[in-house]
Amino acid sequence: MTPDAPYAELHCLTNFTFLRGASHPHELVGQAVELGYEALAITDECSVAGVVRAHVAAKGQQLKLIIGSELRLTCGLKLVALATNRRGYGRLCRLITRGRRAAAKGGYSLTRADLEENGLEHCLILWLPGKARGTTLGPQGHEFEPPDPEEARWLEEHFRGRLWIAVELLRDGMDRGHLETLQRIGRDLTLPLVASGDVHMHIRARRRLQDAVTAIRHNVPIAQAGWRLYPNGERYLRERERLAKLYPRELLEETVAVARRCAFSLEELRYEYPHELVPEGETPASHLRKLTEAGAHWRWPQGVPPGERAAIEHELELIADLRYEPYFLTVHDIVAFARSKGILCQGRGSAANSRVCYCLGVTSVDPLRGASLLFERFISRERNEPPDIDVDFEHERREEVIQYVYDKYGRERAAIAATVIMYRPKSALRDLGKIFGLDPTECTRLTKVMQWWDGGDAMRERLREAGFDPDGPMLARLLPLAQELIAFPGFPRHLSQHVGGFVISEGALEELVPIENATMEGRTVVQWDKDDLNDLGLLKVDLLALGMLTALRKSFDLVNDFRGTHHALGSLPAEAAEVYEMISRADTIGVFQIESRAQMAMLPRLQPRCYYDLVIEIAIVRPGPIQGDMVHPYLKRRKSGEPVRYPSREVAGVLQRTLGVPIFQEQVMQLAIAAAGFTPGEADALRRAMGAWKRSGGIEHFREKLIGGMRARGYAEEFAQRLYQQMLGFGEYGFPESHSASFALLAYDSAWLKCHEPAAFAAALLNSQPMGFYAPAQLVRDARAHGVEVRPVDVCVSVWDCTLERRDDEEPVLRLGLRLVKSLTRNGADRLIAARREQAFDSVQDLAARAALDRGDLEALAAAGAFAALSGNRHLAFWEVAGTERPLPLEAALVDAPHEEIHEPTPLLRTPTEGERIVADYASIGLTLGRHPLALLRESLQSNRLLTARDLDGMAHGKPVRTAGIVLMRQRPGTASGVTFLTLEDETGQVNIIVWERIGEEYRRPLVESRLLEVHGELQRQEGVMHVVAHRLIDRSRLLGELITRSRDFH
């Protein structure tokens, strides 16, 4: 037997050709290595979205990676373009951008004219003959469209000398004829032929998945997908032995010849930062220095403290060494813009906590505020990766900032990073259910049952419960496919836009990475996500939206307006004891970051007393520290106060501030440096490996170095092992101190406002919805519990926002705003307010006529009970609203057409009952100022021996209890090993419920579906935290009747 011919696959799609390719880039790379291919070209259809992952996977392997793309022109011509060098890659990216920008999201459109204009210089072209071969139409489709020599002639005219005819023999029964045809065309036009495989999957076992995603793409049941499916599973990376039997040897050898002409690697992408931020006559360094000096003077009007001065010098030097000035200037420019528009913003991230950023106004983490330790570490000389700064903006106004960036740099140079949307259990089951012919209700039922499925086998009982047969043929086929779709790292489904990661470049961005349209009008995204950008060392700035910044700005405005003060971000009285008192009582509904139920459970245990305690509090209630088992040791040491012994001074330096227990992500890196002798660059590589170790492994070779390094430095074997295990547990879930430090500032400011200005704070939160953990009902209830008087929505008084009214005793009173009224239009509300300003309303008819409100707005107001002052109860309000004339067109109304007043009697309508009022309140404004709905049900609940939240307060640890409440929240943290946390609310307060996995399985339907839930269980108390561990769950939603409650589900 002759030795296998060498082979390079030149036409291979990954699953980043969404719903067509069926294998991950790393799988394809791995398999190509395994088969001894000389090279592999990743040629996703009009995309390079998968190449970075392939590039990372191919690093250090005996496999040459080629970057290219499959393109199908609108005329039907299909080709593969392969980049031979950086310029060719740039041309290809530009062409892809053109095609993508010319079509709606997810599609592309390219013509021969586009190709002529672009030229694709420095690219090699493979003609894919036969119009539909290998695309959406099945093979049967293309057989009526044999290879068209005209296409070859056109290509030959434009790509002479770098054009091949790709011969793809896929055993459809016509390979021989196809080959002969192409050979003849090749002879006629003197074009070389080359073998390729139209690869869609790395192994043939992916055939079912490939069929399934094809059906999903076409949105047809798989049984009707017909010729849209491939007839066989030949589109995989075939063994060279098989290829040798199928292809003439010279065609296989030609693949290698083609591959050898491609010399481009993604390593070559170099990145230049934008230059225009530097004024004429300045260098980036001198300009940054100037801005920093000015900022230092602003921050320290009495003069810069000497220590700080030296630190600033040190940082500037480092920045200059790495030539990062343009990056800092870019961030400064954006922040300065926001500031000039009065938009609150705050930076976070490693580089953000530098003195330079403090001086530039990017952050307000005052180095003197007990956090000076943070500044020692932000950029490393060796890491050679761009610094990372995230900037949060008010969520309602971030768009202004984004538009500013687009305006300033142009769409050619600025774009948002992509986010690859992966299949989750829900989406996988929904899509598969559809193609397996389930009707929509069955699909919903299936996804509901399986929404927390992790791909394991433990769902059979639930399936049976929901009326599915887990062993039936349909599920037996569907579930393995679903497993494949959700298996780590997740099968990509489409590109979406990242929440705010901006890429800004000096040159044309589209020569670096293709840009495509996003769903949102006027948005464009690049084809790479955040990880890809990081992997290639490209710069990005995260411009994020933060609801709390909106709420803080609105709070400051309300308070300053009411009291004539000048509060602003970072200027509130620092370290107020009463604020920490409140926090330690877990009285933190609405407070940034520490309002979740897990945080509230931690607060009384941790008892934060200073800013840095808040930094720890925010970082400790995270999957990393919890899984790494660091919470308990930390609390114990904090409580006992006994001195901690450290194995060395270096380790003490790293862990002292957290009492010897690593809590922050950075501490892990620092330990590697201090104890195991890693360089900062190596430590960062370790962090990234940990982030990805589940995805690609690769942490093992750090193990040797870590443990060996520690051993060499005289640390005990046991210490080294424990540290390594902690790192594994920590993984990617550790929270960085640099982010926590910035968040803690906002947490403190919001807590201060809640403590001292509860009315303004509640109003601001209501005016910033949706945000945070709590719905308006809980926010208002909490405000009232803190003594705030709340007044209802009233068409005679309310404006759009919630406002403060001045009471006789000069205290603020919260007046609910029209924004809470469901279905009321903003325009209608504005007209109402304008008409009222001219003259007070004297009847509903008067209001309807002068504000020119349509029936919808009037009914919305009536439903909210906002007409109470004009018409009495809701029934009467609706009667009057229903009787108003059909509204005239707006113009006619404005001309003041005389309208006839209709005189008619008022009917004797029944007064709404209290229950009806509460139902209506919830339905329209989402909260009630009347009694809690459970107060109405209390009698029947009591007869079932159900206790209130207040009853439970007085009970001892270990008591068996029964209670019931409206389900406010369900949380199932991915890391809590199947535990579900519930928060129930009744008229006396809230109760936290813990449902262990076994109970959750047993009472799955009530757990997932109840609005009003009865819980039997055991009361537990721990360091001031009370919860009920559930033994039994009963759905009592029917008692609520029509009462509309809204639970917020997080998982």
């Binding site: 079912r208 007839p231 066989n232 009914e859 209709i902 009697p905 004797l908």
Partner: protein, 552 residues
């Protein structure tokens, strides 16, 4: 508040005080306006039937079936789709022992048809159906659902929820918002104000409900079918005589259809015998037909094929449902193409073939998108009317994809001897085929651009002779109904000697989603006698060989 005057009179007092007790002589007193309130005997009495939801939503057909049965109770019947039936029973109740008796009878009819229903009786049709629906909602005792005294009507209706009126949900919701949830509460609203807010249609509905306005209902009439029987005073054995006897019946059928501008798609002829069960002879037609001569001709073909067990003593014609006739069916068949005349003759030809060969023997084929050879086609009715062809071509993407020549029909028993007299096998390779294709082996057209006519001639559409063989050259016209296992030697298939494999394999791996997964390599092969076969080898062990088709 302003703009208010004194209270307007509400719709009606909820309790009525009759001025004078009406005597038996008031029975015929018509309902008119408020006078009706004080009348004890109603002008009309309506029985409402409300069909309850069943797994299969009651359709109009169910209502019609029930209506047809109810005709024995009263001639005045109205359908109240989708799930109601109304009977005016004032005149007929005495015939069935009063209203209770009527209700029993009607309930009996429902249960005979296995329909779950609730029934109610009231002086107005709307009130009766509201009561019936409300009865279902509340599972009320039967006695509550009978209101014969108009004076009691409002009192009985008042507590019913508005949902019983089946008003638009939006109206019901808006009424609920002013606190009005029952019929009584709605009746208490001021008339003008109600009409302005909720529409005059709803006001009229309330007036009809209470009898304040009259409510005319469309009368339901049962649709007809033709059914005639003729007893003979002598016994018949000859087919020709039989036809003569049927002729007047067919004439009558023709007139019957003519009068209704209809045709039939099925026609059954039953021949009675002395001792054995009647012989049934059913004509199924591709297009609605009304012409008695055509029907006679078709019937003659069928009767000729019949073997009578005994002499005939009587006969009966029964039509299927009447169908409105399509007057033209032009376009598809070109003159002369189908061995004869114009387009209108195509259906006739099919009828003739079916009459001669049996209805199952003539069918159309259509291509199905599936890579599996055996799943790539399906039998369909050879309906060839202009409208059917048009709509078919418009709606069926598969057929749209086909060229016109592929939209043909095949005869099933088209094996060497499958066609009737006068046809000769025309395909030499079939003659030479050593195996025997039973008449049940089906032709897999697979959408081949070839079709077979009744005259036995094969017509082949022009085939592209390019370098790329089309898919239909790779796959044979003839498929066995199930693959047949082949012997093998040295891993190669045999059938009366070794088979020679002609060309490269075609790999088919698909169909995993419905349990019909296959993984095969197909080859064309030639046996020792030169017959060209289509064989495959399993991709999975034990890699057996099968014969699956025969090339023409």
């Amino acid at each position: 508040m302003r703009h208010r005057r004194a209270l307007e009179l509400p719709f009606q007092e909820s309790t009525s005080v009759p001025g004078s007790a009406p005597g038996p002589g008031d029975l015929l007193r018509p309902i008119s306006g408020r006078a009706a309130v004080s009348t004890r005997a109603p002008a009309e009495l309506w029985l409402a039937v409300h069909l309850e939801e069943s797994p299969s939503q009651p359709g109009r057909q169910d209502l019609e079936r029930l209506g047809a049965r109810a005709q024995r109770l009263t001639p005045r019947i109205s359908l109240d789709p989708p799930d109601g039936l109304l009977l005016e029973v004032k005149g007929s109740r005495h015939l069935f022992g009063g209203v209770e008796g009527l209700i029993r009878e009607m309930a009996g009819e429902c249960s005979r048809l296995r329909m779950a229903c609730s029934l109610a009786i009231a002086p107005t049709p709307l009130a009766a159906s509201a009561l019936a629906r409300a009865g279902r909602m509340a599972a009320a005792p039967a006695s509550l659902l009978i209101v014969t005294d108009p004076a009691q009507l409002i009192g009985r209706l008042s507590p019913l929820p508005l949902a019983a009126l089946r008003w638009p949900q939006d109206t019901v919701d808006r009424l609920a918002r002013i606190g009005v949830r029952t019929i009584g509460e709605a009746l208490r609203l001021p008339r003008a104000g109600f009409a302005r807010r909720f529409g005059t249609a709803q006001l009229l509905a309330l007036d009809r409900l209470t009898g304040r306005a009259s409510d005319l209902k469309d009368r339901f009439e049962v649709r007809a079918r033709f059914r005639r029987r003729r007893e003979l005073i002598y016994e018949l054995e000859s087919h020709a005589a039989l036809l003569a006897v049927l002729e007047p019946l067919l004439e009558e059928l023709g007139r019957f259809l003519e009068a209704r501008q209809c045709g039939v798609l099925t026609l059954e002829c039953r021949l009675q015998h002395r001792a054995v069960a009647p012989t049934r002879c059913v004509l199924r037609l591709a297009a609605p037909l009304a012409d008695p001569r055509q029907l006679a001709a078709l019937l003659a073909e069928r009767l000729n094929a019949l073997v009578l067990p005994e002499p005939v003593r009587g006969c009966e014609l029964r039509s299927g449902p009447l169908v409105s006739r399509v007057l033209s069916s032009a376009g598809l068949w070109q003159p002369g193409e189908q061995g004869g005349g114009a387009a209108a003759q195509a259906p006739e030809l099919i009828e003739r073939l079916r009459a001669r060969l049996g209805a199952e023997a003539v069918y159309g084929l259509r291509l199905v998108e599936d890579h599996r050879p055996e799943a790539g086609w399906r039998i369909r009715e050879p309906v060839i009317t202009a409208s059917a062809v048009q709509s078919g071509l418009q709606n069926d993407p598969v057929r749209n994809a086909l060229t016109k020549s592929q939209e043909r029909f095949w005869t099933a028993d088209a094996g060497p001897k499958g066609l009737g007299a006068g046809t000769k096998p025309s395909n030499p390779s079939l003659e030479g085929f050593p195996g025997r294709l039973s008449s049940r082996e089906r032709v897999s057209g697979g959408g081949s651009p070839s079709w077979r006519s009744a005259s036995g001639q094969d017509h082949f559409a022009i085939r592209s002779e390019g370098d790329n063989p089309g898919p239909w050259d790779r796959r044979p016209l003839w498929l066995l109904s199930a693959p047949r296992l082949l012997n093998e030697r040295d891993g190669l298939p045999r059938r009366r000697g070794p088979l020679r494999l002609l060309c490269e394999g075609e790999r088919v791996e698909t169909g995993w989603w419905d349990g019909g997964e296959l993984a095969r390599d197909y080859y064309r092969a030639v046996d020792v006698r030169g017959a060209r076969l289509w064989v495959f080898r399993e991709r999975e062990p034990p890699h057996r060989w099968f014969l699956h088709g025969v090339f023409g």
